[in-house]
């Protein structure tokens, strides 16, 4: 009897610290972001209500529109590339037995480092005096301005994010591959299905949930890229790698238009939210 009365209180007490943290540092800022996007909030703390002016301004702001385009192009390059690399390495790891643990560790290694570390190293790898151009020079080729060419900069950056992050998706896909009953593949083999047919008709459909999870995670990750761009290109050349998060950072902490910066944050949230909703609809359909 006594503990039934105590339970609600102790339950709440145990949740309380985390609840306070969430209320103050997640829910209040979330409401704050929505509120600030309707004002011209200044760094001094002064503000007036401006309605949807900030949202209207987005469409007339060539720098914002360009940053949105850069973000979408970047995601369109990065996501297929990283999913292909993750899937390829997962398939290799699943079929090779020799030194598998070592290879898996080597492939996963970049994941534990920071984007700043990756950016510092790869900035030199891509440099005119750097690793790749140095190697090309031995072959009398190059130099290639990986980070100085407006057409090359996004693929070059995407490759760094692939390098840094594919290990995570690889492990998710590897777990998915391991859960496919080997008897299915064996039966198909006995029936004379080729490796490609087995992959196409058995592996790929059964891997779909894992593949979709990876697709969504990587898409959201692609939208949020910042650290690496900050350290490698600063958004350049001529804003060719200047994405949404960079625009948000500049508006907030360089031009101090906090209200407008919060509005860009809302755009980012909407993009991520739409992707998450698509994921939910897809998962609902695939489970029924």
């Amino acid at each position: 009897m006594r503990h039934r009365w105590r339970d609600p209180v102790t339950g709440l007490l145990f949740v309380l610290p985390m609840l306070v943290l969430f209320a103050v540092f997640r829910f209040v800022p979330a409401l704050g972001a929505a509120g600030m996007s309707l004002t011209d909030y200044q760094i001094s703390g002064e503000w007036t209500f401006t309605g949807v002016d900030n949202y209207a301004r987005l469409f007339d702001d060539p720098i914002f529109m360009s940053s949105l385009r850069v973000t979408l192009v970047y995601v369109a390059i990065y996501v297929p590339l990283t999913v292909l690399v993750a899937l390829g390495t997962a398939l290799l790891l699943n079929s090779v037995i020799f030194m598998r643990g070592l290879f898996r560790g080597m492939l996963f290694l970049p994941y534990v480092t920071s984007f700043i570390f990756a950016g510092v190293i790869w900035k030199w790898v891509y440099d005119f005096d750097g690793l790749i151009n140095g190697l090309l020079a031995h072959l009398d080729l190059g130099p290639i301005g990986f980070l100085d060419d407006t057409a090359l900069v996004l693929p070059s950056l995407a490759l760094v994010q692939v390098w840094k992050g594919f290990g995570y998706s690889m492990l998710i896909l590897l777990a998915g591959l391991k859960s496919i009953p080997s008897s299915y593949l064996e039966a198909a083999r006995v029936d004379g299905a080729s490796a490609w047919q087995r992959f196409r008709s058995i592996v790929l459909p059964l891997l779909r949930p894992a593949l979709f999870f990876v697709l969504v995670i990587e898409t959201i990750g692609g939208f949020q890229t910042f650290d690496m761009i900050y350290v490698m290109t600063g958004g350049g050349p001529s804003r060719a790698s200047y994405n949404l998060v960079y625009a948000l950072y500049d508006q907030g902490f360089k031009f101090f238009n906090l209200g407008y910066a919060a509005t860009i944050g809302i755009v980012l949230f909407v993009l991520v939210f739409v992707v998450s909703m698509i994921q939910r609809r897809f998962l609902d359909r695939s489970t029924t």
Partner: protein
């Protein structure tokens, strides 16, 4: 692989030859996997060679350096700021690990084993914050922390990052699978809730606490955008932010690489000690 054991014995005898041929066909895959793995870790190796080359002396990729020295690595330790940034990163990551493990396991225990009003709604609200990208909260969070005079302080940098829904969710999932009878029995024996938490919940969740601790450490050690905006002075600046300030004449490439190399050591130590653990927990929980 156990593919052969599930096969009927008659077919097994006939299949012995193709099976060996199949194994023979594996070696190109093994070589390919080996190549991809070496390519993946090669930036680390090249970084190390450059970091070990005396400053401004020829090095890879143009030629193999004449002499190798650890002076650069030692030099970073005496360079202005570097040790301070490292200590700050350790504080940022270390304090966050301790508080998140404590508050998330308490909340996870309550969500998993307690009944209290609003429980499911709270859990739902916690989970919903996953969909809000941190960058979308960056501006209001900064305003909030600066209104509380938290800019350029450790607490201002640390406390907003403690609201971690992934941690709460993970702890809840793990504790929910523990038998409730354990906690009931302890309660019947007259143990206080606090004692049940310390003497049952904490010891029983040690494996998951270790995994979570590693992830929280890496998240904070590698974090960039939040420390960049909130920790502007050298007293609280973290290593990732500090690394981006290392440029110019006094910082030749060898020193930059040496700094990067030193900054990644904690990640590599964590990785070396807990690789198997990390790999399994990603596969099981999707922790990112």
């Amino acid at each position: 692989m156990t593919l052969t054991t599930s096969r009927p014995s008659a077919a097994g005898a006939k299949k012995a030859v193709p099976s060996r041929r199949r194994r023979g066909r594996k070696w190109p895959l093994t070589v390919l996997l080996g190549l991809v793995s070496v390519l993946t870790v090669s930036p680390f190796l090249v970084m190390l060679v450059v970091a070990l080359t005396p400053p401004r002396k020829p090095t890879v990729p143009n030629q193999w350096p004449d002499t190798l020295t650890i002076d650069n690595l030692l030099g970073t330790l005496s360079a202005s700021g570097f040790v301070g940034w490292t200590v700050n990163s350790l504080i940022y990551a270390g304090v966050s690990v301790v508080i998140i493990l404590l508050t998330a396991s308490m909340a996870g225990y309550a969500f998993a084993k307690k009944r209290f009003p609003g429980r499911d709604m709270m859990m739902w609200a916690f989970l919903a914050t996953v969909m809000v990208p941190f960058q979308a909260l960056l501006i209001p969070l900064f305003v909030l922390v600066s209104d509380l005079d938290g800019v350029d302080t450790f607490w201002g940098m640390i406390v907003p990052t403690l609201a971690n829904s992934q941690a709460v969710f993970l702890m809840r999932q793990f504790i929910r699978d523990l038998p409730s009878e354990l906690f009931e029995a302890a309660k019947v024996d007259g143990a206080s809730e606090w004692r049940i938490y310390w003497q049952l919940v904490v010891p029983l969740t040690k494996p998951i606490l270790a995994t979570l601790g590693v992830f929280v450490f890496l998240w904070h050690w590698n974090d960039f955008l939040w420390p960049l905006v909130v920790a502007q002075s050298d007293e609280v600046r973290t290593l990732t932010v500090g690394l981006t300030t290392l440029k110019g004449e006094e910082y030749p490439l060898a020193m930059v690489m040496a700094s990067a190399a030193v900054s990644v050591v904690p990640c590599l130590v964590v990785f070396a000690l807990l690789q198997r653990y990390l790999v399994n927990s990603i596969a099981m929980t999707g922790l990112k």
